[in-house]
């Protein structure tokens, strides 16, 4: 038998958790709303995406016309353009999170946020998600419209579509972990932008933004597929375009492991960083 006080205690804990989740939900909603306030800026950003899509379409049209078969790996021209539309959607929708964290560390704003009744990491995560979702939606709209115009409808399957939201969510969560850790490096280094630049370029090349990883020569292709960068862009985009249950399972495992390692890294770096914060009254 369970006593009445134990039930009350459990109910209180449950209520507390709900209230906590509610706080971050409110931060997320606020972030979405404030991103909508800068819709013109997001639309301007889409200009570069238009340029990139035009470049990729013309580059791959030329490449396909220069070779004898209609397939590169197991990609047709239509597959590859839709694949690139998806990876570009993910790659161009990353908010400058590392710059924000860097700024908060250097300006001391971090100290104000630490005093709030919510976890700093989760607060930043909720804010990042809100901003990212709006950027992702705008980039998806632009990239898919252009891909539709250039090569026709996407090669989508029901299962690919169903898996999309999960693998995309995990991908943007991995991005958060990496960018957050880079931003916190401001506690130890003069500037963090160069780390972010290298990270973004590694994602660009090893994440399969420019070309699907199976088109890399071996053993480079196998190495790139095993690296965490593949879990960010190549894996999710390939799952949506060419759904395969085995590969989907492997991707979930890769994303889960990457998130776990990054989570531990972020927790460690954050723990060390917070110990360096000095708050002086006045």
């Amino acid at each position: 038998m369970t006593s009445g006080s134990a039930i009350t205690h459990k109910a209180r804990r449950g209520l507390g958790r709900l209230r906590n989740a509610g706080k971050y939900w409110a931060v997320f909603r606020m972030s979405v709303a404030s991103s909508f306030a800068y819709l013109a800026e997001i639309a301007f950003r889409a200009l570069v995406l238009v340029a990139l899509m035009v470049i990729f379409v013309q580059l791959w049209q030329t490449t396909y016309s220069a070779q004898s078969g209609a397939l590169l790996g197991d990609f047709t021209l239509r597959d590859i353009i839709w694949y690139l539309a998806l990876v570009e959607t993910l790659a161009t929708s990353v908010p400058p999170l590392n710059r924000r964290i860097d700024g908060e560390v250097r300006s001391g704003d971090l100290a104000y946020l630490l005093g709030r009744p919510c976890g700093y990491v989760l607060y930043q995560y909720a804010q990042y998600l809100g901003e990212r979702v709006v950027r992702l939606a705008m980039a998806a709209l632009v990239a898919s419209t252009l891909a539709l115009l250039f090569v026709g409808p996407p090669p989508l399957s029901f299962w690919g579509l169903l898996a999309a939201s999960l693998v995309f969510f995990l991908s943007i969560s991995i991005d958060f972990g990496a960018l957050f850790a880079i931003g916190l490096m401001a506690f130890w280094t003069e500037e963090t932008e160069s780390f972010a630049l290298i990270y973004s370029r590694l994602v660009l090349v090893l994440g399969g933004v420019l070309v699907p990883l199976e088109l890399f020569p071996e053993p480079l292709g196998s190495i790139a597929r095993a690296l965490p960068f593949a879990a960010l862009l190549y894996g999710p985009a390939r799952t949506v375009i060419k759904f395969d249950l085995g590969q989907f399972g492997a991707l979930l495992l890769q994303q889960g492991l990457t998130l776990l390692v990054l989570g531990l890294l972020v927790a460690g770096v954050y723990h060390l960083a917070v110990r360096r914060v000095n708050i002086n009254g006045g």
């Binding site: 950003r45 340029a51 070779q67 003069e190 500037e191």
Partner: protein, 262 residues
């Protein structure tokens, strides 16, 4: 002219000294930009390993293209570091502090900052060209001349975009995106593009002049082609100058108080 060059040299030296105050930051930005460019080269190496000839272009052409484009952009943003931020300078009223000084306003604004990562682009361009192409002496001098011409085109384009702020107000986002488009189009082989896009690359977004002309000239030097590029670069610079000063007539002071060192 000599006084302007001395002024430019003085500012450049002061900017570099200021950047070197954060020595680790400066070097990390420089090295990371070289790595960034190197990763792009790695992509193209992979691409040309699979398709050795694309509409007449081979891997050496893309190395030349990247070396000249990175070198030109690096020189432009390294020496004229305020050019990418010109729109913000205009919209925030920060031009005030330059207007009262006896130096040429546009030149003064442009040289009043440097971008540490741009030096990485310039270093990458020089290293990639010398190490991967093994140029003859004439080609090396031609390369250096082309880097200067491309830097003029990049700077003029940045001034044109920044000057839009005189008419449009806050056009920083638009300027950044159009500059991003120019850089993106400039770093892909020109023969890949066709139709209306090709027309665009030799008119509104002058990426064709940055990618096509240097590669052609370093393959097979022809005076008319070189002369065409020189005329285009001078024309762009003249147009940027004209548009900036035409826009300056519309400038309204921000009543900004500030000190301008040097």
């Amino acid at each position: 002219m000599r006084r302007s060059l001395r002024f430019l040299g003085g500012y450049l030296s002061a900017n570099l000294q200021a950047a070197m105050e954060y020595r680790a930051g400066f070097w990390s930005q420089l090295v990371s930009m070289m790595l960034n460019d190197g990763l792009w080269m790695a992509f193209w190496w992979l691409y040309f390993r699979r398709y050795p000839v694309v509409h007449g272009w081979v891997v050496n052409d893309i190395i030349v293209l990247w070396a000249v484009a990175a070198g030109g952009f690096g020189l432009a943003a390294g020496v004229f570091g305020k050019a990418p931020r010109l729109a913000r300078v205009i919209t925030t009223g920060s031009l005030d502090s330059y207007l009262t000084l006896p130096k040429n306003v546009l030149l003064h604004v442009l040289v009043s900052a440097t971008d540490a990562s741009a030096w990485g682009d310039l270093a990458f361009g020089l290293v990639a060209f010398c190490v991967l192409i093994h140029p003859a002496l004439f080609d090396l001098f031609l390369f250096l001349g082309l880097v200067v011409l491309i830097a003029v085109i990049f700077t003029a384009f940045l001034v044109l975009l920044g000057s839009l702020a005189f008419w449009l107000g806050n056009s920083e986002g638009l300027a950044q995106q159009l500059m991003g488009a120019l850089i993106s189009f400039s770093t892909y082989p020109t023969p890949v593009f066709h139709g209306a896009v090709k027309l665009l690359l030799f008119t509104l977004i002058p990426a064709g002049f940055i990618s096509y002309f240097p590669v052609e000239l370093l393959r097979d030097f022809r005076w008319p082609l070189f002369g065409g590029l020189v005329v285009f670069a001078i024309g762009m610079a003249g147009l940027a100058w004209f548009v900036f000063y035409r826009g300056l007539r519309r400038y309204e002071s921000g009543n900004r108080l500030g000190a301008q060192a040097l």
